[in-house]
């Protein structure tokens, strides 16, 4: 890149610097100490807060659990979202496509809190889901679907799904139907065409959508708070507690910084996979 061109990047770089500056403030505050008896903090600089987190098994367990939970949720989003996206992309009827896209878009109109309360009603002991399952005779007693992991998982899946589906749907539409047809024509079953042609050709979009879903899942706060019943705590809830229960601002900042670092490393992994997939699929194309 020429020097002149670099100058043109300056405004964008300045804008980004504001956002990254905020993160640096976090990292810096994490190096201060809590002033006992007050919500404030003071010098001297210390790495004590960071070291404290690493020596706290409970905190580490929550961080590890958050990562595992988010990765499982991402996997579930792919498994549930891809067929959904495929249906929207390949349906013969325009009204089916429009209806399903409409349903997806409507979910964006609704905030997390009201959505979480909605799930409380739907998944509760006497909620619609349990009533329906009891009525069909599949279960004798209501399932515990809220105030535990399953409730948080269901609600978060519903939250990440539209992002994934909308990302992947366009990519599926971009695969020419003739390419799928020619595979059928050469003797491959519909299932084989799906796994050997459609899925590989949309792999970059799948990884892209999964990256989005993972970012949303790992930073989830309201759903575990409201639907977890205090039993499901993700790292954001842990940080929140340090801040508003223990009033330990420097420690909360330190954990936030560490959490950001972990999230970035995992996201970097996602991006690496996406780059690899894009190269493998569109090798030297164009």
């Amino acid at each position: 890149m020429k020097a002149g061109a670099r100058v043109l990047l300056l405004p964008a770089a300045a804008l980004m610097a504001i956002f990254f500056g905020a993160f640096l403030v976090f990292a810096a505050v994490g190096m201060l100490s809590c002033a006992p008896g007050t919500p404030g903090y003071s010098a001297p600089l210390t790495l004590g807060n960071y070291l404290r987190f690493f020596s706290d098994p409970a905190g580490l367990r929550i961080l590890g659990w958050t990562v595992v939970f988010s990765l499982s949720l991402t996997a579930a989003t792919i498994v549930a979202g891809y067929p959904f996206a495929y249906l929207i992309a390949r349906t013969r009827w325009a009204w089916v496509r429009n209806l399903l896209l409409g349903v997806l878009l409507v979910t964006f109109l609704c905030g997390s809190i009201s959505r979480a309360y909605g799930w409380l009603i739907l998944l509760g002991r006497r909620g619609l889901v349990n009533e329906a399952l009891m009525w069909t005779g599949l279960i004798d007693h209501p399932l515990a679907l809220i105030y535990n992991v399953s409730g948080v998982f269901i609600a978060l899946l519903h939250f990440t799904l539209p992002y994934f589906v909308l990302t992947v749907f366009g990519a599926i539409r971009a695969v020419p139907s003739q390419v799928e047809e020619s595979a059928r024509d050469l003797g491959a079953s519909a299932l084989r065409v799906f796994f050997q042609i459609t899925v590989p050709l949309t792999l970059p979009a799948i990884v892209g959508g999964a990256t989005l879903a993972f970012s949303l899942a790992i930073s989830a706060f309201a759903f575990p708070l409201l639907l977890g019943g205090g039993r499901v705590r993700l790292i954001s809830n842990y940080i929140y507690d340090q801040l508003f229960v223990a009033f330990d601002l420097p420690f909360a900042a330190a954990v936030s910084s560490l959490f950001l670092l972990v999230a970035l490393v995992i996201l970097w992994g996602f991006f690496a996979v996406e780059r690899w997939a894009t190269r493998a699929v569109y090798r030297r194309a164009g």
Binding site: V179, S182, R283, G286
Partner: protein, 358 residues
């Protein structure tokens, strides 16, 4: 020849497909002899691609049946039919190398990896693409992509090879080269092929038989030469590039067969296409079989005013206004030149005059 007695490679009986009000394919029946190349020729929207996709199994017919080598395949899915199709867009798998593209259909069969490799390489050699096995579709030219698409189909040894506008995306020079190459390959392998095209010249270069389609129906099924010499309908005549279709009726007079044109005058004919007297008809005249003559000579069949003359290479194309119709005449440039505005006569070569039902 036992050709007519043998089971046809492909037999269609009463195929029909309707989309709402639009009849895409209406009651099509035909039989394709083993080892021959049939072209479905017609303008866009005539139903030829729909017919091809029905044979491949992508479209389910409303009624009728499709048999391949005597076996009814109407109810079979595309993957279970012994057909392979070369798509107009080639539809190569962009994430697979040339080798893997060709190997795709073979991998579904139980072959050792050595057998598979040998078959793929032999087929790539057949289409002269053996040195491109490691490349990806995006790295190939249009003509090369087409060879790969062809190899991908040939390697699974289909009983019928279907080609949908196979040369439509190629430039003219390459198109002509590939047409000849496909024809040689077809002769060499003896494989039955069905080609969809809208290009009359292409149909003539490639085919043993041509089925001209219009409005979802087959207008005429014939060998290319017959189609050229004896079009069966006005549509086919026009599609075969005969611009002169004079309206009139067939008449008989004192044992002679006559064509009475709209002006009331009669032209004596050699044959009348089996038509009854009084039936409305068209007289199809190729411009090359007509001659401009002195309007008062004894050979004159039609008279009119020469309105236009265009030079096309070694020949001149004349446009003559008869008052009730316009006629094109093409003659060598060396012959007597006529000037626009002149009153001229036209002589018809009776061997090439064709009477068609209106």
């Amino acid at each position: 020849m036992t050709l007519a007695l043998a089971t046809p490679a492909l037999e269609l009986v009463g195929l029909r497909k309707q989309y709402g009000e639009h009849l895409a394919v209406g009651n099509v029946s035909l039989a394709v002899p083993n080892g021959s190349l049939l072209t479905l020729l017609g303008p866009s929207g005539c139903g030829k691609s729909t017919l091809l996709r029905m044979i491949a199994g992508f479209i389910r017919p409303d009624s009728g049946s499709i048999s391949i080598e005597g076996r009814d395949v109407t109810a079979l899915l595309p993957e279970h039919r012994p057909t392979a199709m070369v798509f107009q867009s080639y539809a190569l798998f962009p994430h697979m190398s040339v080798f893997d593209n060709v190997a795709f259909g073979l991998k579904l069969r139980k072959l050792t990896s050595a057998q598979l490799r040998a078959k793929v390489e032999a087929t790539l050699a057949l289409v002269r693409m053996e040195s491109f096995a490691g490349r990806y579709p995006a790295e190939l030219s249009g003509g090369q992509q087409q060879r790969v698409a062809l190899a991908r189909c040939l390697v699974i040894e289909p009983q019928i090879l279907l080609l949908d506008e196979p040369f439509g995306a190629l430039d003219r020079h390459l198109r002509e080269e590939m047409q000849v190459e496909l024809r040689k390959l077809q002769r060499q392998l003896g494989i039955t092929m069905l080609v969809v095209t809208h290009d009359q010249d292409e149909a003539f270069i490639l085919s043993d038989f041509v089925a001209v389609m219009n409005g979802g129906r087959i207008e005429q099924f014939a060998a290319p030469a017959d189609l050229y010499d004896r079009p069966a309908t006005c549509f086919v005549a026009r599609f075969m590039g005969i611009p002169n279709l004079l309206p009139g009726a067939v008449a008989h007079h004192e044992g002679k067969l006559l064509f009475r044109h709209e002006n009331g005058e009669c032209i004596e004919l050699n044959h009348g296409g089996g038509m009854l007297a009084g039936e409305p008809a068209h007289l199809a005249l190729r411009p090359e079989t007509l001659r401009l003559v002195d309007p008062v000579s004894e050979h004159v069949d039609l008279v009119g005013t020469l309105v236009f003359a265009t030079l096309i290479g070694s020949r001149l194309q004349y446009e003559v206004d008869l008052g009730w119709a316009t006629v094109q005449v093409v003659m060598p440039r060396a012959d007597q030149t006529w000037q626009p505005g002149e009153w001229v006569g036209i002589a018809i070569d009776r061997r090439h005059a064709i009477v068609l039902s209106a």
